[in-house]
Amino acid sequence: MAAPGNQRMNRLSPVVIIVFSFAAGGTSAQINDFGMAGVLDVPSARMSSEDSLTTTYSRRDVADVYSVNYQVFDRLETGFRYTIFNARGKSPIPGQKCPPNEFLVCDGIRDRSFEVKYRLWDESDWVPSVAVGIRDLFGTGAWSSEYVVASKQFGALDLTAGIGWGRLAERSIAENPLLSLSEGMSERGDYTGTGGQFLGTGGTLASDALFRGQDIGLFGAVRYRLPQAKLDLLLAYNSDSYARERALGSLGDANGLSFGLDWEARSGLRLGLSYQDGGGVGLRLSTALNAAEIPPIKRPNGFGAGNSIAESYRFDSKVGWWERMAIDAESSGLLLRAMKLEGDHHLLLRYSNMTWQIEADAIRRVLALVNQYAPLSVRTVTMTGDALGMPSHSVVYQRPVDDSFSSQVLPARLQIGSPIDIPYPDETRRYAYPNGDVRVGMNVRTYLFDPDFPLLYQVSVRLQGDVDFGSGWQGTAVWNQSLTSQFDRIFRDGESQLPPVRTDLRRYMQEGESGIDQLTLTKRGKLSRDVYYQAYAGILEEMYSGVGVDVLWRRAGESLSFGFNVNAVKQREFNKMLGLRDYSVVTGHASAYWLTPIKNVEVAVHAGRYLAGDIGATIEVQKRFANGWSIGAFATLTDVPFSVFGEGSFDKGLIFRIPFDLYSSSNTQGAYRTLVRLVNRDGGRMLDNWPGGLWENMRHTHDDFLDQQRARMVPPR
């Protein structure tokens, strides 16, 4: 989507993703300048391994491209990119620089686009791998092109050839074969072809352009691997003549040929250097990680020799095994809240996981302590864990009788199910209430895709206090203290025909540079074994205060869960203190969550009333992994017409959740969750990050994740 003019904001988002991409090696294919598998500036039929997340920066005369590519399935590759055309401001007038925002004279387009590629055939001895792709699926057509491409490897040589439509047909070689299907296929929608500067408003599927046009072009590439040097020699012929960019003077005459080198500096990190079509040197940096990677089991934080345990709890004292086990659990980042011994052989435990990202690791730690301390007469252990302080799942474990019990057979002896109450425990750990903690952390917030400043940021200190009052009552306060901010450079206000429920973002970021981000009192509990609720009141998020309730039905073994929330909220003053503005609304949604049969893929649908009073539904599709990563996309359609909604036509974006645990030497439940919106508009908007959702915050304890991690629950043997 092009045509800047509205607010776009995210906290960290691509910056964080790029940083984390450095943190772990992945398995990416040869990445092209568009961030997809390919060679130089042409696509190939190659793909990365499933769940690879690749971030790429490429710098060329024609454009600088920042992209995030995700291999959704083995055959399906997707990519999101932000393009700054003519980033060095080259003027058509020799020796001059383009003035800022002088779009009429210079190429100054900033463009966001989605690419999708699907592999139709796998490579075999005689048949090449074949893929079909769309380079600008929802965009305004700045990169509008489609292709069918084949790749075949011969030893160290990898050959690619393909035909293209749209821009990839600018160097035409033949008539579009699809014209035989319909005469109308010769007409191509918004795409302007040569020299056009004004592109569409974007946001919707460019169905009137796909595979259309009078002609097709032929492109190709050669890659030669030098595995010893981890170096690839590259040659490409592009059927995109860059006619528009040449017409605007940002590129010299082009003959279609490019060549270059690609070096795998380390696993998951690739550097590219090329001589580009039309002259000029191109640079490319890409990093990859595997979002599905399961980290090794870490040792408990702060547990061990040298860490003080009160002498009165030592083994040679006469303190009972339960107290010692509970003390060691607390030193391991767990709370053992209650215990009941039934008939000397059945131990029921209630535990809380306070530090472990993967619930199976917490269970493993509890079981290790059971093996160490519980009387040998205990043969069966039933552990009930919680999420948000509410019992959420249980695991039944058969304790090994002797050393012949091997870890290979143990997982089958774990039963995972719904939470089991301990109505009359023999022992409970008494925790003083209220208790709580204060956390101080650095926070980086970014404002992306501003036409003048593609990346603006604020660095602040985030001070958070949580108080647990017991019985499900919790208080939370978050203060954000700005240290440095570039947001004062933003001068564009969002224009909207709807109530400005989100497009006043600039004023919140500038007038509320420092302020209260959250101040809430929450009550959580269960209405029955499988029904959870939370009710809350206070300052719910940056822009809204109010009251609300969130209810979730979730049952172990069920692929469907349901929930609803209702919120009565009032808009906050821009200074983010206690004051309120006039606008208020009742907003809420009924939600259905479906764990699809496709591994790690889940779908959520929320239908209801949004902040601007519009009625509609949101669909989210995510791949979510037991390690805490999730990657997905969402889209919202409401009764607001596209023309009223404005740029982008409807609300949509990407979902990322990045767990810190994968990149930390210690156990942590911390994670960064963000929604990357392409355009910040007022239609189809919910409360941000609040209520945070019972579903989202309890998801890690659902039985499908526990089931995937059975082997990880087995305690050390």
Binding site: P300, I309, R324, I327, P375
Partner: protein, 189 residues
């Protein structure tokens, strides 16, 4: 050189000194000690001497030192001290968590007295050592102790594994009945 590096080098030097000039050792344990000493080499780098002690999910780096009467001990600066008599781990001090200290007592009739996690103890009868050879690079001996007279039955193990050069690379031994054995693993190749 950082302070931590200096401390490591100093510790390494001390360990070398203790290993070279150490106290008199009983002949039955001399071989065991020699096998550990042989892993040290001439380097002054403390990492060369490091062993990893792992018990029930917690692990620590320890260094071998010789102790009085030639019993081999492994220790670290955090107060963890593991005593090995050449056959079994006989005492642990500074064990992680609320365990703290453990002593496994040998009884006159060849049985050994082990603690249980619930504070009780149990006497186990130990069989003869059995040698094994899995691969040219993995050989060792193992001793099993059992007490099947009471329910539930309990057992313990003592295991020493050698590498292809005949040096000890792993020592495994039960410390608490019902809990997994503790493992001492040489970190240097």
């Amino acid at each position: 050189m950082t302070r931590a590096t200096k401390q490591i080098r100093l510790l390494g030097t001390m360990i070398s000194f203790l290993l070279v000039v150490g106290c008199a050792v009983r002949s039955t344990q001399l071989e065991s000690l020699r096998r550990i000493v042989s892993t040290v080499g001439a380097s002054n780098d403390a990492a060369e001497y490091a062993w990893e002690f792992e018990f029930n999910g917690a692990g620590y780096t320890v260094y071998p030192v010789s102790d009085r009467d030639g019993v081999v001990s492994f220790a670290n600066a955090e107060g963890l001290r593991i005593t090995w008599d050449g056959n079994v781990l006989v005492a642990i001090n500074g064990l992680p968590g609320s365990v703290g200290h453990i002593r496994i007592e040998s009884q006159s009739d060849g049985r050994r007295l082990y603690p249980l996690g619930d504070g009780q103890s149990r006497s186990l009868s130990c069989g003869p050592r059995r040698n094994w050879q899995l691969t040219p690079a993995r050989a060792g001996w193992r001793q099993d102790c059992v007490d099947g007279s009471n329910n539930p039955p309990v057992s313990s193990i003592h295991e020493v594994e050698f590498d292809g050069a005949g040096s000890i690379r792993i020592i495994r031994a039960t410390l608490i009945l019902g809990a997994p054995p503790a493992t001492l693993r040489r970190l240097s190749p």
